[in-house]
């Protein structure tokens, strides 16, 4: 077949046409990508190349009332090495110096590090851990080690910063200072003050910054400012006093250890303001040591026992059912109410005693009889008293997880005829230690019931964001007469009642002991009795400054279980420490003392010096410095030879001198 030009050209047009169509197809595809699926890919571009990086806000600090740090966030660093990145030359040159430095830092041997890092390089480990959770100064130190000081790209240094919440006081009051922790499922645990005020004040607002991927896993900020600036959290100033807290913590700990108790708590509250100065909650760990496990003072509502008698006596006195001098027959120490026996702690009973004395010795029979006689027909009258004092409602303290108080009343499932006499000595109802303390504090505060507070103010640096004022729950819980009566009874309890072992003539206290059976409904209680020992009160007895409650659960009965023995000493220790730590103020007006004879001699001398201004005095025997001053005051020019005491003078004593005359002093 011959080929001619026409033939080629026809075939060429066909081929060129095909190519042109191919070109059109490319154009069509191009337009499709741009306009049909363009949005999808543009969104993908954004997703793949731009990310929103959260800049965490610095969490605020928690301070004590005097400004001591209780909780703060500090940066911690993990130092790792990418064992692949350093060049062979660098690696060989610096491996030994690096290992030496690491050995000096950690105490492990240099050869250990050499072996491990070599192994990491052989295993292509790009993330070998050198140090975890180290502080800033250690980080600076490690950063300057050989090889690591070459940086990320040449030395393989990897630094990861995390923020850790630190408690400078350690385990003390940890539960009350608290924390805010988020687990992997996003559930947040909020304990104590840190938890309660985390969201509102401490946390701050996280910042945001858009970053663009520039390949190799590196991201660069798109613009030089943050899209949202992080706003640091506010500082929270608590009412906790570090000194009181320290005393309370150690006093409680000592007693818990002594009595081998299961757990216990102590709260110290300022009477006038309701500010909590100390709160300590300790529980025994399986290994036998004590630690802040739960906030028992706020959370654990339990049958208080005899400490509750303050409320029952107050109700009876306020309703004028009895007065302190009314005589009650407590019999031989056992009395049956509706088939249930009530016992007093003294074998054989107290016989006939006054109401005041019954309180002091904590007679169960006395108060049970009073209540039963007075309120059996109308229990609500008594219950309403308790309600009036707010004992059936929560305090709504800021710390999350306050326990519910329980006061039964007629009509409730758990109400019976026996309920009233049991309530008289603190059973058949439940209160948390803090709720009990609030009531005692009201008595100490002459009837004004203030709400316990943990937080004083919120600050941003020096600027006050919010100040928390005293909150009054009840203006006046009862008449002054009743108050005076119960205050006297509380004072007498320490002086000559169940708390007499605590009595000290150096400082005064007022309070009530409590020893309650717990878990008595369980089987085998008789063989293994369990008690809750408590002591609630305030000090000093007159013009009280602090109220305090100590509750210790399940002390070892072999060692003792009475409130006065177990909890009382904690109370006393705190009261004594605060008493001795409070300085006595005495003023001295001036440190300058006028001495009459010195003053007189000075005046004489001054007179002579002014009168005999032109007559040369005797300066022999004077120190050179004094002699010069004397002579120059006369207008003489002084030449001095030597150092020390003047031995001779060129112008003799008594001679007239002129101004600018020269005198030579031999020294």
């Amino acid at each position: 077949m011959a080929v001619n030009e026409k033939n080629i050209l026809n075939r060429l047009y066909f081929i060129a046409g095909c190519m042109f169509i191919f070109g059109l197809a490319v154009v069509f595809k191009l337009l499709t990508i741009q306009f049909v699926v363009g949005d999808e890919y543009r969104a993908l571009a954004e997703k793949r190349t731009v990310k929103d990086v959260v800049i965490p806000a610095n969490r605020g600090n928690v301070y004590s009332v005097k400004g001591n740090l209780l909780a703060t966030s500090i940066p911690k660093y993990d130092i790792r090495i990418d064992a692949i990145t350093p060049s062979t030359k660098t690696f060989q040159k610096f491996l030994k110096p690096l290992s030496d430095s690491l050995a000096a830092y950690s105490g492990k041997s240099s050869s250990y590090y050499q072996k491990e890092i070599k192994k990491a390089r052989a295993n292509k480990n790009r993330y070998y851990l050198l140090a975890r959770d180290i502080g800033y100064s250690d980080y600076i130190r490690l950063r300057d080690f050989p090889m690591l000081n070459l940086g990320a790209y040449k030395g393989g240094l990897i630094v990861e910063q995390t923020t850790k919440r630190e408690h400078p006081m350690g385990g003390i009051s940890m539960r009350t200072i608290g924390y805010e922790r988020e687990d992997d499922d996003g559930n947040i645990t909020r304990a104590g003050i840190d938890g309660a005020f985390g969201e509102l004040y401490l946390r701050g607002v996280d910042g945001h910054r858009l970053k663009q991927n520039i390949g190799k896993g590196q991201w660069k900020p798109i613009v030089d400012y943050n899209q949202v600036e992080p706003k640091d959290g506010y500082d929270v100033y608590t009412t906790i006093d570090v000194n009181v807290q320290d005393i309370a913590h150690h006093a409680l700990l000592e007693q818990l250890e002594l009595y081998d108790a299961e757990h216990g708590c102590v709260v110290v509250m300022e009477v006038k303001t309701g500010e909590i100065r100390a709160i300590s909650n300790l529980a025994k760990s399986p290994s036998g040591t004590y630690y802040e496990k739960r906030n028992y003072a706020v959370w654990e509502s339990h049958e208080p026992g005899s400490t509750f008698k303050l409320a029952t006596y107050m109700a009876a006195l306020e309703d004028k059912v009895v007065d302190t001098s009314t005589v009650i027959d407590t019999g031989n120490g056992v009395k049956t109410f509706y088939g249930k026996r009530v016992r007093d702690s003294r074998h054989g009973g107290y016989g006939k005693i006054s109401v005041g004395r019954a309180f002091e010795v904590s007679s169960n029979i006395a108060i049970a009889s009073i209540l039963d006689d007075a309120y059996a027909k109308n229990p609500m009258k008594f219950i309403n008293r308790l309600k009036q004092w707010g004992l059936n409602t929560k305090l709504d303290v800021s710390i999350i997880g306050e326990g519910d108080p329980v006061i039964y009343e007629p009509g409730d499932k758990d109400w019976s005829r026996n309920a009233l006499p049991s309530m008289a000595y603190g059973y058949n109802l439940r209160l948390t230690p803090l709720q009990m303390l609030t009531f005692y504090n009201a008595v100490a505060n002459d009837g004004e019931m203030v709400k316990p507070r943990f937080i004083k103010q919120v600050k941003e640096l020096d600027k006050e964001i919010k100040v928390f004022e005293k909150e009054v729950r009840r203006e006046k819980i009862c008449s002054d007469a009743t108050l005076g009566a119960v205050q006297a009874m509380l004072k007498n309890t320490v002086e000559k009642g169940t708390g007499r072992k605590l009595y000290s003539k150096y400082f005064s206290m007022a309070g009530k002991t409590g020893t309650a059976q717990t878990e008595y409904w369980m089987k085998g209680w008789k063989e293994n009795p369990r008690y809750v020992s408590s002591f609630a009160g305030y000090f000093p007895a007159e013009n009280p400054k602090y109220s305090c409650i100590v509750v210790i659960h399940k002390p070892s009965t072999k060692k003792g279980y009475y409130g006065a023995d177990v909890s009382g000493p904690v109370f006393k220790k705190i009261a004594r420490k605060i008493f001795t730590d409070t300085p006595i103020i005495d003023e001295i007006e001036s440190l300058e003392v006028n001495n009459a004879s010195v003053e007189e001699e000075f005046q004489d001398y001054y007179k002579i010096a002014n009168t005999y201004k032109t007559i040369m005095p005797n300066v022999v025997g004077l120190p050179a410095m004094d002699a010069i001053a004397l002579c120059e005051n006369l207008g003489l020019k002084v030449k001095i030879e030597g150092v020390g005491v003047v031995t001779s003078q060129s112008i003799p004593k008594g001679q007239k001198v002129k101004k600018n005359q020269t005198i030579v002093l031999a020294v």
Partner: protein, 406 residues
């Protein structure tokens, strides 16, 4: 005065340029434009390579283009009839170079990727298959023109035509399937243009496919004996043919993101973001980067340029005075446009991922030089036509020549 002399120099320079002036212009425009995307892509290359200097990439690209255009100039001065004989000489050389390349046994991640040989002393590497392609096309053009007056029998054509073709393709295939396939298509196109009977052509195409299947089977059966890239091709073709835009299809996705981000006007020179993620941003996927930075306007500009080049090649072929001239122009010219189309088609996902560069735009010495060599040959053919015209007109009037552009 000075300006005058420089003007005169410029005139003298342009008068030295023979052949189709518009092809010169297209080549120059493409070359000048190429600096923009190459320099833009350089920032990422420098960053990834741990090199702090992006300017060196620009200088290197300039050197490649300068050498390429020098080659183009030299080639267009050579009367094209010499290429007939030259192809006979160069064929054995191409074989030797390909064998040497394969013997080097360069591998990329265990797969045979022997595409380059290093030029001694100069320190540049050179992709021998590209050179062999040009030589083969000239050789085929020579054969087809020789046979123009004869009736071609299948048997007769095997030894002088298909044997060299298949031998050469077999040498390229292990390292570069896409180049082999494109070259085979181009050879088929050229023999079709040269009047080769279509039924024989279909038979040869069938043979080619059978040969490829054989190769794949052998490679699969003895994977250790022959380190090969069969798996790479298979996965690429599979990725393309299953139609889904899977996560694995990383490069194509990035290319499409780049194109979509460009919009009509583009992000602006150097503002491409995807160049940081697209592996071959300065060669294989340069079209995507161009569309990202210069938008549809830039993309259309390139397509129009290549279409225009196609148009000029057709014109030059039409005007060529001999059959050899026509086939020569088409044999070396159409692959340029075809390759450009393939490159763009890959970026827009019209075609599976191949390693084809964008002629005259992509960085890379071999691609630029061989494109320039091919354009030089085309210009040489059109220069011959000019010479004949000049002899006829006997006037030094460039306008006359321009007027005969179409």
């Amino acid at each position: 005065m000075k300006e005058n002399t420089s003007n005169i120099n410029l005139k003298r320079f342009f008068s030295n340029l023979k052949g189709d002036r518009l092809i010169w212009a297209i080549a120059a425009l493409l070359a000048i434009f190429s600096f923009l995307p190459v320099y833009s892509a350089a920032s990422n290359l420098a960053y990834v390579g741990g090199n702090t200097n992006t300017f060196s990439f620009l200088v290197k690209h300039f050197m490649h283009l300068f050498l390429g255009f020098s080659l183009m100039y030299l080639m267009h001065k050579v009367p094209y009839r010499y290429f007939r004989g030259l192809s006979m000489v160069m064929m054995p050389l191409a074989f030797v170079l390909l064998v040497v390349t394969i013997m080097q046994g360069t591998t990329i991640e265990g797969a045979n990727a022997s595409r380059w040989i290093r030029i001694p002393f100069v320190g540049m590497s050179f992709q021998t298959s590209t050179f062999a392609s040009v030589v083969l096309m000239v050789y085929v053009a020579r054969y087809m023109s020789k046979m123009k007056d004869k009736v071609i029998s299948f048997k007769e054509s095997i030894l002088p035509l298909w044997l060299p073709v298949f031998l050469l393709l077999a040498l390229i295939l292990p390292s570069n399937f896409s180049t082999t396939a494109i070259l085979f298509v181009m050879v088929a196109m050229l023999v079709f243009l040269g009047g080769y009977p279509i039924r024989y052509l279909i038979a040869m195409l069938g043979l080619g496919v059978v040969g490829l299947v054989m190769f794949v089977l052998v490679a699969k059966a003895f994977p250790d004996a022959m380190p090969n890239r069969v798996d790479t091709w298979m996965s690429r073709v599979e990725n393309f043919s299953n139609g889904e835009d899977t996560e694995a299809d990383y490069q194509i996705e990035k290319a499409k993101i780049a194109i979509a981000s460009g919009g009509i006007k583009g992000l602006g020179p150097g503002k491409s973001m995807q160049k940081n993620f697209l592996p071959q941003s300065s060669s294989d996927f340069i079209f995507a980067i161009i569309v990202e930075e210069y938008g549809l306007i830039g993309g259309f500009f390139l397509i129009i340029m290549y279409m225009w080049l196609l148009f000029r090649i057709v014109i030059v072929a039409q005007k060529a005075d001999t059959i050899f001239g026509k086939l020569l122009v088409l044999g070396v010219g159409l692959p340029i446009v075809f390759q450009a189309m393939i490159n763009m088609a890959v970026a827009v996902e019209l075609f599976p991922v191949t390693g084809q560069t964008l002629p005259l735009i992509s960085s890379g010495g071999t691609s630029i030089w061989m494109t320039c060599l091919a354009i030089g040959i085309i210009l040489s053919v059109s220069a011959k036509r000019e010479e004949i015209k000049e002899q006829e007109v006997r006037e030094d009037n460039p306008l006359e020549i321009l007027s005969e552009a179409i």
